[in-house]
């Protein structure tokens, strides 16, 4: 199992992602954004969190034109598995590999805290180790995490089981930290090979540091 982790100028979660996947037994490689290709042995491509290009213009807007993104798009279109976390989710929506967009949080504040998430659909490789309605405790850290999609797009997400995770409280009841449509925290594409979420499972790998629920989430990708 080989995980390739993208690094743009301003990315800051690539080493957390590396730690997380190595803890799970995967081989990892950090790939600088100037690369024109994705390593051939890649089983999972992670677009890590951070502030690519300083979030200038819009979060993820400039990263989508980095040299590596052409190869990422080709990799995704040919069925390669891609996971975008936080800024990586923003990059994937900007690159139109995932539907919708991430707006400024409704409160206008940067939010950094642990938050509960409910599994809405485990009918995909990412969350198949979890059951629907399971609640996990995962850190969020974002300014632009307010997921937006129009009504038609939202219906399509539900019709195809593409809504993966929603924000909730410890009991699994709705609790929306940032104004996201229907409290959506994570989605996938129709083909179920491109995944995006604002919360950081790679920062929830050690119970000593608050939660190890990220293990159950990321483990899904480790299947041979």
């Amino acid at each position: 199992m080989k995980v390739t982790i993208l690094q743009f100028p301003g990315t800051n979660c690539e080493y957390d992602a590396q730690y997380a996947f190595e803890k799970l037994g995967a081989k990892t490689e950090i790939l600088w954004h100037k690369s024109q290709s994705v390593p051939a042995d890649t089983d999972l491509l992670v677009v890590a969190g951070g502030f690519s290009y300083g979030d200038y213009l819009r979060s993820g807007a400039i990263a989508k034109f980095s040299p590596v993104m052409k190869a990422v798009t080709a990799y995704a279109k040919s069925g390669g598995k891609v996971l975008g976390i936080c800024n990586g989710f923003q990059v994937l929506t900007e690159a139109r590999l995932l539907p919708g967009a991430l707006k400024r949080n409704e409160s206008l504040h940067f939010i950094s805290k642990h938050h509960h998430l409910k599994v809405i659909s485990n009918d995909n490789i990412f969350l198949e180790k979890l059951d629907n309605s399971d609640v996990v405790n995962i850190p969020i850290a974002h300014h632009d995490g307010n997921y937006y999609i129009d009504q038609n797009g939202l219906k399509e997400l539900y019709d195809n089981n593409q809504v993966l995770l929603k924000y909730c409280d410890a009991n699994g009841d709705d609790k929306n930290p940032n104004g996201s449509v229907d409290s959506i925290a994570g989605i996938c594409n129709k083909e179920r090979n491109v995944f995006g979420l604002m919360p950081h499972p790679e920062r929830a790998m050690e119970s000593l540091l608050g939660s190890s629920d990220g293990i159950k989430m990321l483990q899904g990708f480790l299947k041979a």
Binding site: L57, R58, A61, I62, F65, T93, E94, G100, A101, K103, R104, N105, E106, S107, L108, N146, Y148, I149, G179
Partner: protein, 81 residues
Amino acid sequence: MMKVIVNVFLKAGVLDSQGKAVYHALESLHFDNISDVRVGKQIVLNLDESDETKAMADVTKMCEELLANTVIEDYNIELVK
């Protein structure tokens, strides 16, 4: 040389939290005749171009590809001589 101004705003129907915050702040300053506030951004471009049609076409392409995210934003373009 041509100056082009691009204005980018969230689409009507997409909640503009910044606009709402500014609206409430103005209300608290007793400006009570406001019905709506939208906050956007303005991008000013200087183009080495004399053909207005070409400039308009180029800037439209810039907006579609980069300057606006048309999933949530609208834009308008003003040519300034």
